[in-house]
Symmetry: C2
Amino acid sequence: MQETFTTEQGLTLPVHDQPLLDRVRALILGGDFPPGAPVSEVFLAQEFDVSRTPIREALKQLQHEGLVEIRPKVGTFVREPTRREIVELFQLKESFEGLAAGLLARRGPVRELSVLERNLEESDEAAAAGDAERYAALVHEFHQTIILGADNNKLAEHYGRLMNQLAYHRLVLRTAGHPGRIIASTSEHRTVLEMIKDKDHFGAEAAMRNHVYASSREVLTDSRTRTD
Amino acid sequence: MQETFTTEQGLTLPVHDQPLLDRVRALILGGDFPPGAPVSEVFLAQEFDVSRTPIREALKQLQHEGLVEIRPKVGTFVREPTRREIVELFQLKESFEGLAAGLLARRGPVRELSVLERNLEESDEAAAAGDAERYAALVHEFHQTIILGADNNKLAEHYGRLMNQLAYHRLVLRTAGHPGRIIASTSEHRTVLEMIKDKDHFGAEAAMRNHVYASSREVLTDSRTRTD
DNA sequence: TGACGAGTTGATGTATGCAACATAATCTCT
DNA sequence: AGAGATTATGTTGCATACATCAACTCGTCA
Protein backbone atom coordinates (compact mmCIF):
# COMPACT_ATOMS: atom_id res chain seq x y z
CA MET A 1 0.00 0.00 0.00
CA GLN A 2 1.07 3.46 -0.82
CA GLU A 3 2.25 5.78 1.88
CA THR A 4 -0.63 8.07 2.67
CA PHE A 5 -1.56 11.04 4.79
CA THR A 6 -4.91 11.65 6.43
CA THR A 7 -6.15 15.20 6.67
CA GLU A 8 -8.19 16.50 9.52
CA GLN A 9 -11.25 15.99 7.38
CA GLY A 10 -10.49 12.32 7.05
CA LEU A 11 -9.37 12.55 3.47
CA THR A 12 -6.58 10.14 2.70
CA LEU A 13 -4.17 11.28 0.05
CA PRO A 14 -0.62 10.61 -1.04
CA VAL A 15 1.70 12.19 1.45
CA HIS A 16 4.01 13.93 -0.93
CA ASP A 17 1.83 16.84 -1.92
CA GLN A 18 0.19 17.47 1.38
CA PRO A 19 2.32 19.96 3.22
CA LEU A 20 2.22 22.68 0.61
CA LEU A 21 -1.41 22.09 -0.25
CA ASP A 22 -2.39 22.28 3.38
CA ARG A 23 -0.41 25.41 3.96
CA VAL A 24 -1.96 27.15 0.99
CA ARG A 25 -5.42 26.04 2.05
CA ALA A 26 -4.82 27.24 5.57
CA LEU A 27 -3.64 30.58 4.29
CA ILE A 28 -6.75 31.05 2.21
CA LEU A 29 -9.18 29.70 4.78
CA GLY A 30 -7.40 31.73 7.40
CA GLY A 31 -9.39 34.69 6.25
CA ASP A 32 -6.39 36.79 5.33
CA PHE A 33 -7.89 37.09 1.90
CA PRO A 34 -11.35 38.61 1.58
CA PRO A 35 -13.72 36.78 -0.76
CA GLY A 36 -13.07 37.65 -4.35
CA ALA A 37 -9.51 38.69 -3.68
CA PRO A 38 -6.99 37.62 -6.29
CA VAL A 39 -4.46 34.97 -5.30
CA SER A 40 -1.56 35.31 -7.65
CA GLU A 41 0.70 32.37 -8.24
CA VAL A 42 3.87 34.42 -7.98
CA PHE A 43 2.76 35.82 -4.65
CA LEU A 44 2.18 32.39 -3.17
CA ALA A 45 5.37 31.15 -4.77
CA GLN A 46 7.57 33.65 -2.98
CA GLU A 47 5.41 33.42 0.12
CA PHE A 48 6.23 29.72 0.46
CA ASP A 49 9.59 29.95 -1.24
CA VAL A 50 8.84 27.50 -4.03
CA SER A 51 8.38 27.91 -7.72
CA ARG A 52 5.07 28.51 -9.44
CA THR A 53 4.69 24.91 -10.55
CA PRO A 54 3.80 23.29 -7.22
CA ILE A 55 1.69 26.34 -6.41
CA ARG A 56 -0.26 25.79 -9.58
CA GLU A 57 -0.94 22.20 -8.61
CA ALA A 58 -2.13 23.21 -5.19
CA LEU A 59 -4.43 25.85 -6.61
CA LYS A 60 -5.90 23.30 -9.00
CA GLN A 61 -6.71 21.13 -6.03
CA LEU A 62 -8.26 24.01 -4.18
CA GLN A 63 -10.37 24.78 -7.19
CA HIS A 64 -11.58 21.21 -6.99
CA GLU A 65 -12.43 21.74 -3.38
CA GLY A 66 -14.31 24.85 -4.33
CA LEU A 67 -12.22 27.25 -2.28
CA VAL A 68 -10.89 29.22 -5.20
CA GLU A 69 -12.00 29.96 -8.70
CA ILE A 70 -9.49 29.86 -11.51
CA ARG A 71 -10.46 32.08 -14.38
CA PRO A 72 -8.34 31.01 -17.31
CA LYS A 73 -5.76 33.49 -18.39
CA VAL A 74 -7.02 35.91 -15.76
CA GLY A 75 -6.15 34.66 -12.35
CA THR A 76 -7.18 32.80 -9.23
CA PHE A 77 -9.63 34.27 -6.78
CA VAL A 78 -10.87 33.22 -3.37
CA ARG A 79 -14.37 31.99 -3.56
CA GLU A 80 -17.07 31.98 -0.96
CA PRO A 81 -20.04 29.73 -1.59
CA THR A 82 -23.28 31.44 -2.42
CA ARG A 83 -26.30 30.84 -0.27
CA ARG A 84 -27.70 28.53 -2.87
CA GLU A 85 -24.52 26.49 -2.85
CA ILE A 86 -24.64 26.24 0.92
CA VAL A 87 -28.15 24.89 0.65
CA GLU A 88 -27.01 22.38 -1.93
CA LEU A 89 -24.04 21.36 0.17
CA PHE A 90 -26.20 20.81 3.22
CA GLN A 91 -28.54 18.63 1.21
CA LEU A 92 -25.55 16.54 0.31
CA LYS A 93 -24.28 16.58 3.87
CA GLU A 94 -27.62 15.29 5.05
CA SER A 95 -27.48 12.49 2.53
CA PHE A 96 -23.88 11.56 3.26
CA GLU A 97 -24.24 11.51 7.00
CA GLY A 98 -27.55 9.73 6.84
CA LEU A 99 -25.94 7.05 4.74
CA ALA A 100 -23.03 6.85 7.15
CA ALA A 101 -25.25 6.52 10.19
CA GLY A 102 -27.20 3.74 8.50
CA LEU A 103 -24.08 1.88 7.51
CA LEU A 104 -22.61 2.23 10.97
CA ALA A 105 -25.82 0.92 12.52
CA ARG A 106 -25.53 -2.21 10.40
CA ARG A 107 -22.01 -2.89 11.55
CA GLY A 108 -23.03 -3.77 15.06
CA PRO A 109 -20.77 -3.16 18.04
CA VAL A 110 -17.56 -1.57 16.84
CA ARG A 111 -14.93 0.58 18.42
CA GLU A 112 -16.54 3.77 17.12
CA LEU A 113 -19.55 3.34 19.38
CA SER A 114 -17.56 3.86 22.55
CA VAL A 115 -15.96 6.91 21.00
CA LEU A 116 -19.41 8.31 20.40
CA GLU A 117 -20.47 7.48 23.94
CA ARG A 118 -17.56 9.36 25.38
CA ASN A 119 -18.11 12.20 22.96
CA LEU A 120 -21.61 12.74 24.27
CA GLU A 121 -20.40 12.86 27.85
CA GLU A 122 -17.72 15.39 27.01
CA SER A 123 -20.22 17.39 25.00
CA ASP A 124 -22.40 17.68 28.06
CA GLU A 125 -19.44 18.89 30.05
CA ALA A 126 -18.43 21.42 27.44
CA ALA A 127 -22.01 22.64 27.16
CA ALA A 128 -22.27 23.00 30.93
CA ALA A 129 -19.00 24.89 31.01
CA GLY A 130 -20.11 27.10 28.15
CA ASP A 131 -17.00 26.26 26.20
CA ALA A 132 -18.21 26.90 22.64
CA GLU A 133 -14.84 26.22 21.09
CA ARG A 134 -14.52 22.81 22.67
CA TYR A 135 -18.13 22.03 21.95
CA ALA A 136 -17.65 22.79 18.27
CA ALA A 137 -14.63 20.49 18.20
CA LEU A 138 -16.67 17.71 19.77
CA VAL A 139 -19.46 18.19 17.25
CA HIS A 140 -16.88 17.84 14.54
CA GLU A 141 -15.55 14.67 16.14
CA PHE A 142 -19.02 13.19 16.47
CA HIS A 143 -19.81 13.60 12.82
CA GLN A 144 -16.36 12.57 11.76
CA THR A 145 -16.55 9.41 13.82
CA ILE A 146 -19.82 8.41 12.23
CA ILE A 147 -18.43 8.97 8.77
CA LEU A 148 -15.33 6.91 9.48
CA GLY A 149 -17.40 4.33 11.29
CA ALA A 150 -19.38 3.71 8.13
CA ASP A 151 -16.31 1.88 6.89
CA ASN A 152 -16.67 3.24 3.38
CA ASN A 153 -13.58 4.99 2.09
CA LYS A 154 -15.26 6.49 -0.93
CA LEU A 155 -17.87 8.03 1.28
CA ALA A 156 -15.16 9.48 3.48
CA GLU A 157 -13.44 10.94 0.42
CA HIS A 158 -16.50 12.66 -0.93
CA TYR A 159 -17.43 13.82 2.53
CA GLY A 160 -14.01 15.35 2.98
CA ARG A 161 -14.37 17.33 -0.21
CA LEU A 162 -17.80 18.46 0.83
CA MET A 163 -16.63 19.69 4.20
CA ASN A 164 -13.73 21.55 2.69
CA GLN A 165 -16.17 23.41 0.53
CA LEU A 166 -18.43 24.22 3.42
CA ALA A 167 -15.66 25.47 5.67
CA TYR A 168 -17.91 23.93 8.23
CA HIS A 169 -16.02 24.72 11.37
CA ARG A 170 -16.51 28.42 10.77
CA LEU A 171 -20.24 27.96 10.37
CA VAL A 172 -20.60 25.80 13.45
CA LEU A 173 -18.85 28.30 15.62
CA ARG A 174 -21.42 30.88 14.64
CA THR A 175 -24.41 28.76 15.53
CA ALA A 176 -22.92 27.52 18.79
CA GLY A 177 -24.06 30.79 20.24
CA HIS A 178 -27.69 30.35 19.24
CA PRO A 179 -29.80 30.00 22.35
CA GLY A 180 -30.93 26.45 22.97
CA ARG A 181 -29.14 25.06 19.97
CA ILE A 182 -26.45 23.29 21.93
CA ILE A 183 -28.96 21.43 24.07
CA ALA A 184 -31.05 20.46 21.08
CA SER A 185 -28.00 19.40 19.13
CA THR A 186 -26.68 17.18 21.89
CA SER A 187 -30.10 15.64 22.29
CA GLU A 188 -30.20 14.86 18.57
CA HIS A 189 -26.77 13.32 18.77
CA ARG A 190 -27.96 11.11 21.57
CA THR A 191 -30.95 9.96 19.57
CA VAL A 192 -28.73 9.07 16.64
CA LEU A 193 -26.41 7.05 18.82
CA GLU A 194 -29.31 5.18 20.42
CA MET A 195 -30.62 4.18 17.00
CA ILE A 196 -27.20 3.00 15.95
CA LYS A 197 -26.75 0.96 19.09
CA ASP A 198 -30.16 -0.60 18.47
CA LYS A 199 -28.94 -1.59 15.01
CA ASP A 200 -31.91 0.30 13.62
CA HIS A 201 -30.22 1.43 10.46
CA PHE A 202 -33.37 2.91 9.04
CA GLY A 203 -34.03 4.93 12.18
CA ALA A 204 -30.40 5.91 12.49
CA GLU A 205 -30.37 7.29 8.99
CA ALA A 206 -33.59 9.21 9.56
CA ALA A 207 -32.41 10.60 12.88
CA MET A 208 -29.11 11.69 11.40
CA ARG A 209 -30.79 13.38 8.49
CA ASN A 210 -33.14 15.18 10.78
CA HIS A 211 -30.24 16.35 12.84
CA VAL A 212 -28.25 17.61 9.89
CA TYR A 213 -31.31 19.34 8.54
CA ALA A 214 -31.95 21.08 11.84
CA SER A 215 -28.33 22.07 12.01
CA SER A 216 -28.43 23.47 8.49
CA ARG A 217 -31.47 25.53 9.36
CA GLU A 218 -29.52 27.12 12.17
CA VAL A 219 -26.71 28.04 9.87
CA LEU A 220 -28.94 29.32 7.12
CA THR A 221 -31.01 31.46 9.42
CA ASP A 222 -27.92 33.00 10.91
CA SER A 223 -27.78 36.57 9.78
CA ARG A 224 -24.06 36.38 9.24
CA THR A 225 -24.42 33.82 6.49
CA ARG A 226 -24.10 35.47 3.12
CA THR A 227 -27.38 35.82 1.31
CA ASP A 228 -26.49 36.44 -2.30
CA MET B 1 -20.47 33.84 -15.95
CA GLN B 2 -17.41 31.96 -16.92
CA GLU B 3 -17.34 30.00 -20.11
CA THR B 4 -17.92 26.39 -19.18
CA PHE B 5 -18.05 22.95 -20.66
CA THR B 6 -20.35 20.15 -19.67
CA THR B 7 -19.05 16.61 -19.81
CA GLU B 8 -21.20 13.67 -20.70
CA GLN B 9 -21.48 12.97 -17.00
CA GLY B 10 -23.01 16.36 -16.43
CA LEU B 11 -19.94 17.82 -14.80
CA THR B 12 -19.52 21.47 -15.61
CA LEU B 13 -15.97 22.72 -15.68
CA PRO B 14 -13.96 25.53 -17.21
CA VAL B 15 -13.62 24.86 -20.88
CA HIS B 16 -9.95 25.51 -21.22
CA ASP B 17 -8.62 22.29 -19.79
CA GLN B 18 -11.29 19.96 -21.01
CA PRO B 19 -10.22 18.69 -24.39
CA LEU B 20 -6.91 17.27 -23.30
CA LEU B 21 -8.28 15.86 -20.07
CA ASP B 22 -11.09 14.16 -21.92
CA ARG B 23 -8.77 12.74 -24.51
CA VAL B 24 -6.45 11.33 -21.90
CA ARG B 25 -9.36 9.90 -19.97
CA ALA B 26 -10.80 8.34 -23.09
CA LEU B 27 -7.46 6.80 -23.92
CA ILE B 28 -7.18 5.23 -20.50
CA LEU B 29 -10.80 4.16 -20.23
CA GLY B 30 -10.58 2.90 -23.78
CA GLY B 31 -8.99 -0.21 -22.46
CA ASP B 32 -5.79 0.17 -24.41
CA PHE B 33 -3.98 0.00 -21.12
CA PRO B 34 -4.42 -3.07 -18.95
CA PRO B 35 -4.98 -2.40 -15.26
CA GLY B 36 -1.74 -1.69 -13.49
CA ALA B 37 0.01 -0.61 -16.66
CA PRO B 38 2.29 2.38 -16.31
CA VAL B 39 1.20 5.60 -18.00
CA SER B 40 4.31 7.61 -18.60
CA GLU B 41 4.04 11.36 -18.88
CA VAL B 42 6.45 11.58 -21.78
CA PHE B 43 4.50 8.95 -23.67
CA LEU B 44 1.26 10.85 -23.32
CA ALA B 45 3.07 14.09 -24.07
CA GLN B 46 4.27 12.95 -27.46
CA GLU B 47 1.06 11.02 -28.04
CA PHE B 48 -0.94 14.24 -27.81
CA ASP B 49 1.86 16.50 -29.01
CA VAL B 50 2.03 18.70 -25.95
CA SER B 51 4.59 19.12 -23.22
CA ARG B 52 4.58 17.22 -19.97
CA THR B 53 3.09 20.10 -18.02
CA PRO B 54 -0.51 19.89 -19.23
CA ILE B 55 -0.26 16.10 -19.15
CA ARG B 56 0.70 16.25 -15.52
CA GLU B 57 -2.33 18.38 -14.77
CA ALA B 58 -4.61 15.96 -16.54
CA LEU B 59 -3.14 12.99 -14.70
CA LYS B 60 -3.64 14.77 -11.41
CA GLN B 61 -7.29 15.17 -12.28
CA LEU B 62 -7.58 11.55 -13.25
CA GLN B 63 -6.03 10.56 -9.96
CA HIS B 64 -8.78 12.54 -8.30
CA GLU B 65 -11.32 10.67 -10.33
CA GLY B 66 -9.74 7.44 -9.24
CA LEU B 67 -8.80 6.25 -12.69
CA VAL B 68 -5.06 6.29 -12.15
CA GLU B 69 -2.74 6.03 -9.21
CA ILE B 70 0.24 8.34 -8.98
CA ARG B 71 3.07 6.89 -6.95
CA PRO B 72 5.37 9.75 -6.09
CA LYS B 73 8.71 9.69 -7.81
CA VAL B 74 7.76 6.38 -9.41
CA GLY B 75 5.07 6.87 -11.97
CA THR B 76 1.42 6.81 -12.89
CA PHE B 77 -0.49 3.57 -13.29
CA VAL B 78 -3.97 2.72 -14.47
CA ARG B 79 -6.16 1.69 -11.65
CA GLU B 80 -9.14 -0.59 -11.64
CA PRO B 81 -11.41 -0.43 -8.64
CA THR B 82 -11.38 -3.42 -6.35
CA ARG B 83 -14.57 -5.25 -5.64
CA ARG B 84 -14.78 -3.58 -2.28
CA GLU B 85 -14.50 -0.18 -3.90
CA ILE B 86 -17.24 -1.05 -6.34
CA VAL B 87 -19.46 -1.97 -3.42
CA GLU B 88 -18.62 1.32 -1.77
CA LEU B 89 -19.28 3.26 -4.93
CA PHE B 90 -22.65 1.62 -5.40
CA GLN B 91 -23.61 2.50 -1.86
CA LEU B 92 -22.84 6.08 -2.72
CA LYS B 93 -24.64 5.83 -6.02
CA GLU B 94 -27.72 4.59 -4.23
CA SER B 95 -27.55 7.50 -1.84
CA PHE B 96 -26.93 10.10 -4.54
CA GLU B 97 -29.66 8.92 -6.85
CA GLY B 98 -32.10 8.46 -4.00
CA LEU B 99 -31.47 12.03 -2.96
CA ALA B 100 -31.89 13.19 -6.53
CA ALA B 101 -35.17 11.36 -7.01
CA GLY B 102 -36.50 12.85 -3.79
CA LEU B 103 -35.46 16.35 -4.74
CA LEU B 104 -36.94 15.99 -8.18
CA ALA B 105 -40.21 14.77 -6.71
CA ARG B 106 -40.44 17.90 -4.63
CA ARG B 107 -39.99 20.15 -7.63
CA GLY B 108 -43.36 19.33 -9.12
CA PRO B 109 -43.99 19.33 -12.84
CA VAL B 110 -40.80 20.28 -14.59
CA ARG B 111 -39.45 19.71 -18.06
CA GLU B 112 -37.48 16.67 -16.93
CA LEU B 113 -40.63 14.65 -16.31
CA SER B 114 -41.59 14.54 -19.97
CA VAL B 115 -38.05 13.51 -20.82
CA LEU B 116 -38.40 10.62 -18.43
CA GLU B 117 -41.78 9.69 -19.89
CA ARG B 118 -40.35 9.52 -23.37
CA ASN B 119 -37.33 7.67 -22.09
CA LEU B 120 -39.50 4.88 -20.75
CA GLU B 121 -41.32 4.52 -24.06
CA GLU B 122 -38.10 4.33 -25.98
CA SER B 123 -36.70 1.89 -23.44
CA ASP B 124 -39.63 -0.41 -24.12
CA GLU B 125 -38.92 -0.20 -27.81
CA ALA B 126 -35.23 -0.87 -27.39
CA ALA B 127 -35.98 -3.78 -25.09
CA ALA B 128 -38.46 -5.24 -27.57
CA ALA B 129 -35.94 -4.85 -30.34
CA GLY B 130 -33.23 -6.43 -28.24
CA ASP B 131 -30.97 -3.46 -28.80
CA ALA B 132 -28.73 -3.71 -25.74
CA GLU B 133 -26.51 -0.83 -26.77
CA ARG B 134 -29.42 1.57 -27.16
CA TYR B 135 -31.01 0.30 -24.00
CA ALA B 136 -27.86 0.97 -22.02
CA ALA B 137 -27.76 4.50 -23.42
CA LEU B 138 -31.35 5.06 -22.36
CA VAL B 139 -30.63 3.77 -18.87
CA HIS B 140 -27.81 6.26 -18.69
CA GLU B 141 -30.11 9.04 -19.84
CA PHE B 142 -32.76 8.10 -17.31
CA HIS B 143 -30.41 8.29 -14.39
CA GLN B 144 -28.69 11.37 -15.72
CA THR B 145 -32.00 13.15 -16.17
CA ILE B 146 -32.98 12.47 -12.59
CA ILE B 147 -29.67 13.77 -11.32
CA LEU B 148 -29.91 16.94 -13.35
CA GLY B 149 -33.59 17.27 -12.50
CA ALA B 150 -32.70 17.45 -8.83
CA ASP B 151 -31.47 20.98 -9.57
CA ASN B 152 -28.50 20.65 -7.27
CA ASN B 153 -25.20 21.42 -8.96
CA LYS B 154 -23.06 20.10 -6.16
CA LEU B 155 -24.87 16.82 -6.30
CA ALA B 156 -24.29 16.66 -10.04
CA GLU B 157 -20.60 17.34 -9.50
CA HIS B 158 -20.10 14.61 -6.95
CA TYR B 159 -22.20 12.24 -8.99
CA GLY B 160 -20.06 12.92 -12.03
CA ARG B 161 -16.92 12.03 -10.12
CA LEU B 162 -18.55 8.91 -8.83
CA MET B 163 -19.59 7.72 -12.25
CA ASN B 164 -16.17 8.38 -13.67
CA GLN B 165 -14.75 6.09 -11.05
CA LEU B 166 -17.28 3.39 -11.71
CA ALA B 167 -16.82 3.43 -15.47
CA TYR B 168 -20.49 2.65 -15.27
CA HIS B 169 -21.30 2.25 -18.92
CA ARG B 170 -19.00 -0.72 -19.15
CA LEU B 171 -20.68 -2.40 -16.22
CA VAL B 172 -24.20 -1.77 -17.51
CA LEU B 173 -23.43 -3.27 -20.86
CA ARG B 174 -22.48 -6.48 -19.13
CA THR B 175 -25.67 -6.82 -17.16
CA ALA B 176 -27.90 -5.85 -20.06
CA GLY B 177 -27.54 -9.42 -21.14
CA HIS B 178 -28.77 -10.89 -17.89
CA PRO B 179 -32.07 -12.68 -18.50
CA GLY B 180 -35.02 -10.72 -17.19
CA ARG B 181 -32.95 -7.83 -15.99
CA ILE B 182 -34.07 -5.44 -18.69
CA ILE B 183 -37.74 -6.02 -17.95
CA ALA B 184 -37.23 -5.66 -14.23
CA SER B 185 -35.12 -2.57 -14.69
CA THR B 186 -37.67 -0.83 -16.87
CA SER B 187 -40.38 -1.69 -14.41
CA GLU B 188 -38.36 -0.18 -11.61
CA HIS B 189 -37.79 2.95 -13.65
CA ARG B 190 -41.51 3.24 -14.17
CA THR B 191 -42.17 2.95 -10.46
CA VAL B 192 -39.69 5.69 -9.74
CA LEU B 193 -41.26 7.99 -12.26
CA GLU B 194 -44.74 7.36 -10.89
CA MET B 195 -43.61 8.28 -7.41
CA ILE B 196 -42.00 11.44 -8.69
CA LYS B 197 -45.11 12.44 -10.60
CA ASP B 198 -47.12 11.87 -7.44
CA LYS B 199 -44.79 14.27 -5.64
CA ASP B 200 -44.12 11.46 -3.17
CA HIS B 201 -40.54 12.40 -2.44
CA PHE B 202 -40.18 9.83 0.25
CA GLY B 203 -41.46 7.04 -1.97
CA ALA B 204 -39.44 8.28 -4.92
CA GLU B 205 -36.25 8.16 -2.90
CA ALA B 206 -37.02 4.69 -1.62
CA ALA B 207 -37.93 3.38 -5.07
CA MET B 208 -34.82 4.83 -6.60
CA ARG B 209 -32.62 3.34 -3.92
CA ASN B 210 -34.23 -0.03 -4.36
CA HIS B 211 -33.63 0.19 -8.06
CA VAL B 212 -30.00 1.13 -7.72
CA TYR B 213 -29.49 -1.58 -5.17
CA ALA B 214 -31.02 -4.19 -7.46
CA SER B 215 -28.91 -2.93 -10.30
CA SER B 216 -25.76 -3.12 -8.21
CA ARG B 217 -26.57 -6.69 -7.28
CA GLU B 218 -26.68 -7.58 -10.94
CA VAL B 219 -23.29 -6.05 -11.54
CA LEU B 220 -21.71 -7.58 -8.48
CA THR B 221 -22.99 -11.06 -9.20
CA ASP B 222 -21.72 -10.88 -12.74
CA SER B 223 -18.82 -13.27 -13.01
CA ARG B 224 -16.86 -10.83 -15.12
CA THR B 225 -16.61 -8.31 -12.29
CA ARG B 226 -13.24 -8.51 -10.66
CA THR B 227 -13.26 -10.20 -7.29
CA ASP B 228 -10.02 -9.25 -5.61
C1' DT C 1 24.56 -19.98 -4.11
C1' DG C 2 22.47 -16.22 -1.95
C1' DA C 3 22.55 -11.76 0.07
C1' DC C 4 24.18 -7.24 0.18
C1' DG C 5 25.52 -2.83 -1.94
C1' DA C 6 27.28 0.57 -5.26
C1' DG C 7 26.25 2.24 -9.75
C1' DT C 8 23.01 2.92 -13.54
C1' DT C 9 18.77 4.00 -15.57
C1' DG C 10 14.61 6.00 -16.18
C1' DA C 11 10.99 8.15 -14.33
C1' DT C 12 8.92 12.11 -11.87
C1' DG C 13 9.40 16.86 -9.25
C1' DT C 14 10.76 21.53 -9.73
C1' DA C 15 12.47 25.86 -11.59
C1' DT C 16 12.40 29.18 -15.01
C1' DG C 17 11.81 31.51 -19.58
C1' DC C 18 8.80 32.83 -23.07
C1' DA C 19 4.34 33.41 -25.31
C1' DA C 20 -0.57 34.37 -25.24
C1' DC C 21 -4.27 36.49 -23.50
C1' DA C 22 -7.49 39.48 -20.57
C1' DT C 23 -7.89 43.70 -18.50
C1' DA C 24 -6.94 48.42 -17.57
C1' DA C 25 -5.05 52.72 -18.73
C1' DT C 26 -4.09 56.01 -22.21
C1' DC C 27 -4.36 58.35 -26.31
C1' DT C 28 -6.66 60.18 -30.30
C1' DC C 29 -10.23 61.88 -32.91
C1' DT C 30 -14.65 63.88 -33.25
C1' DA D 1 -15.76 66.21 -23.16
C1' DG D 2 -16.86 61.63 -24.65
C1' DA D 3 -16.30 57.32 -27.19
C1' DG D 4 -13.58 54.29 -29.56
C1' DA D 5 -9.22 52.33 -30.59
C1' DT D 6 -4.69 51.38 -28.98
C1' DT D 7 -1.06 50.61 -26.11
C1' DA D 8 0.60 48.89 -21.63
C1' DT D 9 0.70 45.73 -17.93
C1' DG D 10 0.09 41.88 -15.30
C1' DT D 11 -1.40 37.36 -15.17
C1' DT D 12 -1.67 32.64 -16.47
C1' DG D 13 -0.40 28.59 -19.99
C1' DC D 14 3.06 25.93 -21.88
C1' DA D 15 7.70 24.34 -22.99
C1' DT D 16 12.03 22.99 -21.60
C1' DA D 17 16.17 22.14 -18.68
C1' DC D 18 17.79 20.45 -14.61
C1' DA D 19 17.50 18.17 -9.93
C1' DT D 20 15.99 14.30 -7.42
C1' DC D 21 14.70 9.98 -6.23
C1' DA D 22 13.05 4.92 -6.70
C1' DA D 23 13.85 0.61 -8.78
C1' DC D 24 16.84 -2.35 -11.16
C1' DT D 25 21.37 -4.36 -12.57
C1' DC D 26 25.33 -6.28 -11.78
C1' DG D 27 29.29 -7.24 -9.29
C1' DT D 28 31.33 -8.57 -4.89
C1' DC D 29 31.68 -11.13 -0.81
C1' DA D 30 30.34 -14.40 2.73
